[in-house]
């Protein structure tokens, strides 16, 4: 079997397509918004990751630079569905999602919520797992649901630099190079790379401007 080459050098922001002195495009997974609703109940001195992320999106900036949230109509309508199914009032759920859409439109890059063709009903082939190959240890069994694929589709279509999620493990894919297990991986689409980052790591990045720069993990199928 052909051996995979493993990069042993740290990743720079340039390799991750992170802009310097430009707008950082951030896609926020649904679970981060849900977590923020609980975090905003009792604002404490120590900010949770969801607070740090949502507050950066609201402000349109962080210590690292300008922040533009990337979101799609599908994500907003799914989030509204989630909130209603969790028992929130439909009016509040609708207002919450509408406000997120406005954050996107009024952000530093002024990006309206995306219409992701092919990602609205089911995730596109690019965001979906390839067929399971028992002889290739880098191919893990398929994801349980399509929802993560839809979020990933939005991140790719919206050319997001970072996708922040609390559900990191469901985004594992052979198309992603693991930078730090359980914390950060870089997903490579045909013409775009997006860093899938655990919300805690993303919050740290927004505060310090630093992302993990460990070696590419040997179990990943690709080097950068």
């Amino acid at each position: 079997m052909q051996r995979r080459s493993v990069s042993r050098r740290p990743l720079s922001n340039v390799e991750l397509d992170l802009p310097v002195h430009r707008v950082i495009r951030l896609c926020v997974d649904l679970n981060v918004w849900v977590r923020y609703l609980r975090a905003s109940v009792r604002p404490s001195e120590r900010k949770t990751a969801s607070q740090a992320i949502v507050e950066a999106v609201q402000a349109g900036c962080c210590t690292t630079g300008a922040i533009q949230v990337v979101v799609s109509h599908t994500m907003l309508s799914r989030l509204e569905d989630v909130l209603v199914r969790l028992g929130y009032g439909p009016g509040d759920a609708s207002a919450f999602c509408s406000n997120i859409g406005t954050m996107s439109r009024r952000g530093p890059a002024g990006v309206a919520p995306h219409v992701v063709l092919g990602g609205g009903v089911a995730s596109t082939a690019e965001a979906r797992m390839p067929i399971y190959n028992p002889y290739d240890p880098s191919v893990v069994p398929p994801r349980a649901d399509d929802e993560d694929g839809r979020v990933l589709d939005t991140a790719i279509a919206g050319r997001a630099h970072i996708l922040a999620t609390f559900n990191f493990k469901d985004f594992q894919s052979p198309n992603a190079a693991v930078i730090e297990p359980g914390r950060m991986q870089v997903y490579r689409a045909a013409n775009h790379r997006v860093a899938i980052v655990h919300a805690d790591t993303c919050a740290e990045f927004l505060r310090t401007g630093k992302l993990p720069s460990a070696d590419v993990h040997p179990t990943s199928g690709h080097t950068l």
Partner: protein, 119 residues
Amino acid sequence: MAGRAVSAWVSDDVAEAVTLEARRENRSPAQLAAQAVRFFMALPREARASVNALDNLGTLDQRRAALNEVARALNNAEFEMTCQRMAPHSLELMPDGMSDEELDAEAVRLTKAALKRGA
């Protein structure tokens, strides 16, 4: 409603926009104008001075950028207000006594479960 009339001359463009928005919101142009005046007068004096400075000295892009910031601030205020209204139910879903890590995991579980319920 008791009150007094305050009249003002505006350009045709503004008058047309007021009429159109009033129809869209099923209100009279006077109601819309009254809200605009209330909002403007509720601003601090220095904010009104800034509006005047932008009106008189600013370029179109500068005025647009300032209005974008106002729109963003108002949206953020509404967002926080909405979150506060949703807070009691958030507390029911994720009660006190859980650690931050447990709350993170619970947010993932709740989101996935709600999505599955609709599948």
